[in-house]
Amino acid sequence: MTLLRPMPHKPADATAFTIREARPEDIEQVIELDEATTGVRKASYWDDMLGTSEIPANQQFFLVAMTDGGLLGFIIGEARAWEFGSPPCGWIFAIGVDPRTRLDGIGTALFEAVCERFRRAGMTKIRTMLARDAQLLMSFFRSQGMMAGPFIELEKDLDE
């Protein structure tokens, strides 16, 4: 998940954006936005998300919010079934918004767009997972109506 950190200047056309499916030519901007906000460059991860996925197009959604000036945000979701015993639902794996355009409705528009695609794919529930200390991101998802679900994530260090 992409954390939101302050950046200095707001794009002039941040309120006039469109949402569409991501294209190969968008990936470099996605990689840069993700790196700028998380501090980690994950080029191969993003290339894989768009380039080599064998998941049907109606089950995986990689959307971007664009202006004439470039990328303002992205979201990735995928319909998954029966993992962890969960009936089919839509998972949101990542969302990122240019921090200079926070509160301009870009994250909400991306969220609603991916929800609409999940509905068309027959999903009746969406789910995500995020770091407990990702307060801004958790606030965003809660502002969209998401609440704690029935699963708890557990982990263990293997060197114990």
Partner: protein, 140 residues
């Protein structure tokens, strides 16, 4: 988890005032809805005023209004004014803390406290008003 009375009063007052930001409400009006002590609520409102969350207008037609940022102010911000939330169990000096069993128990209690803090810090007043709206729609 059970909140102290003053904390609940504060949450009710903030939610009531934030749901009608254009109106000024008296402590008595809010107290009547929630069936709570107006005197106790007035004390709580004075604390909220000192914290810059509400503003008081005196005189005829006076009352309180919400002056915080509903999209930024979280439940944790409000609760923390009145009581500690999610304090580390290991940091609290309690009987048995120095034993291995006490340390293990503190680890589990800290896990619960971390989740509590994460939940309360992620729910803004604005989001809480939406949850209230959905609860009302569901026919509570």
């Amino acid at each position: 988890m059970k909140l102290q009375i003053a904390t609940r009063h504060a949450l009710f007052a903030i939610l009531e005032l934030a749901s009608q930001p254009e109106r000024q409400l008296s402590a008595a009006e809010i107290a009547e809805k929630y069936d709570i002590s107006p005197n106790h609520l007035a004390k709580v409102l004075r604390v909220l005023g000192r914290e810059g969350m509400v503003d008081a207008a005196r005189g005829v037609g006076g009352g309180y209004r919400f002056v915080g940022n509903a999209r930024r102010l979280t439940l944790l911000d409000i609760i923390a004014v009145f009581e500690p939330i999610g304090a580390s169990a290991a940091a609290n000096r309690e009987v048995g803390n120095d034993t291995v069993e006490g340390a293990a128990l503190a680890q589990v209690m800290d896990e619960i406290a971390d989740t509590t803090r994460a939940t309360l810090s992620s729910i803004t007043v604005n989001t809480m008003l939406k949850i209230i709206g959905r609860t009302a729609d569901a026919g509570h």
